[in-house]
């Protein structure tokens, strides 16, 4: 009898906890992220930020030391490769500086906006997502730096993702490989537009809505389309064409792209202080 009563009490506790969870989920989902839950989350993240910084200061040198020990040869080879690439890039940068100046002049004459003119905030990636189901990274800048929800995040190479949530000390960035990520893209060669969507970590991104007749070259660069109402400014490189084919009877071309940025080894990123003109639903 005693055992029976005890198990009933446990079941009561379980029901209580389950109902509490469901209530919290409902409040959060219905509140649309703006309500009380959002401020609780922000407070928790800001409170945890110093702990994370201390832990990083302790862990990083240790893991770097061991990483360096075991991968000495690889790092040496990489270093010489990077030096060579840097020299080449410097040369090209000098050559293109002149072109840039001309372009700026022309754009200014035409009153056009260009991604290169948007003010940016540099931030360091301090953590990746603790979840196995969302592809995000945490950066060490927040609201005081002017970061807002929805802003694009890039590196020098191209698009990384967009800001999902911001607190005082931290911002969470949704990576473009996350399955809930969509971005309007344009093929740099033909100018055809489509929509690329994330497909999981280290997976190529499928691009929808590309016409069967459009010409696509392997390795062609795909940039953000920046069409009216788009959540990204135009001409940010997104990826390179990996494969392309047309299934018989299909109305669109099967196209996949690889992200230009190595999203598994992010260190420093830039947040574009840019928000879409149109109001998002």
């Amino acid at each position: 009898m005693a055992v029976y009563r005890r198990s009933t009490r446990h079941r009561f506790l379980l029901v209580l906890l389950v109902l509490t969870s469901i209530t919290v989920i409902t409040v959060d989902v219905r509140g649309g992220g703006g309500g009380a839950m959002e401020s609780v989350r922000r407070a928790a993240r800001d409170a945890f930020a110093p702990v994370q910084s201390v832990a990083d200061d302790v862990i990083n040198p240790v893991s770097d030391f061991f990483g360096g020990l075991f991968r000495y040869g690889h790092i040496k080879a990489e270093n010489s490769r990077l030096r060579r690439q840097l020299a080449e890039a410097r040369g090209r940068a000098d050559a293109s500086a002149n072109n840039d100046r001309e372009l700026q002049k022309l754009l200014a004459l035409q009153n056009l906006n260009f991604a290169g003119n948007i003010p940016t905030v540099a931030a360091r990636v301090v953590a990746t997502s603790p979840s196995n189901f969302q592809l995000t990274v945490e950066i060490d800048k927040g609201l005081p730096a002017g970061i807002q929800k929805g802003m694009p995040v890039v590196t020098g190479a191209g698009l990384v993702g967009r800001v999902l949530s911001v607190s005082q000390e931290r911002a969470t960035v949704l990576l473009l490989t996350d399955p809930s990520f969509n971005v309007g893209v344009r093929l740099s060669g033909s100018g055809d537009v489509g929509v690329a969507r994330g497909n999981g970590t280290r997976q190529p991104l499928p691009v929808d809505l590309i016409d069967v007749g459009s010409k696509v070259a392997g390795g062609e660069v795909v940039v953000t389309s920046g069409l009216q109402g788009s959540v990204f400014p135009p001409d940010i490189p997104v990826g390179k064409v990996r494969s392309t084919k047309v299934q018989p009877g299909s109305l669109q071309r099967d196209l996949t792209i690889d992200p230009i940025v190595d999203l598994t080894r992010l260190d420093f990123v830039k947040v574009l202080l840019w928000q879409p003109k149109a109001v998002l639903p």
Partner: protein
Amino acid sequence: MNNTRAKIPLVLLLFLVVELTLLDRLRVFGAGPDAMLLLAVVAGIVGGPRAGALFGFAAGIVLDLFLETPMGLSALVFCLVGYAVGNIQGGVLRAAWWIPILTTFVASVAGELLYALVATVVGQPHLVTIHLLIVATVVGVFNAVAAPVALRLVRWSIETPERAFA
């Protein structure tokens, strides 16, 4: 008893710090261990259904603060998993050493699958894919490996003075 009340939040905080600072670096096939789920499972093994449900709820709600999925989702899943493990484990008194490890593996896999399922119900699509099976397996293996350490920590946190002296 006062001692116990201080030890439980301490263990909870320890698991959270490890989860958020150390384990996010560990990735195999794009998946890593889930220390908070491990805490729920181990609490169920050590303390029965009551401890499993309570630890699971607390671990889940704390983790939810740092995720973008709806708040309370992990709490719901983890408290169910902790409760279920506690109920199953209740039948086994003096188990062989490998039984808790196997239980952790099975419960962790089940927990990840349940999480994806519940997430889909509350409007988070894209979770139920082939990749989910890989994630669940990786989490199961990682958690099973970490189970002996976690068992010791949780046992230390919830042992009452009576039991300690018995």
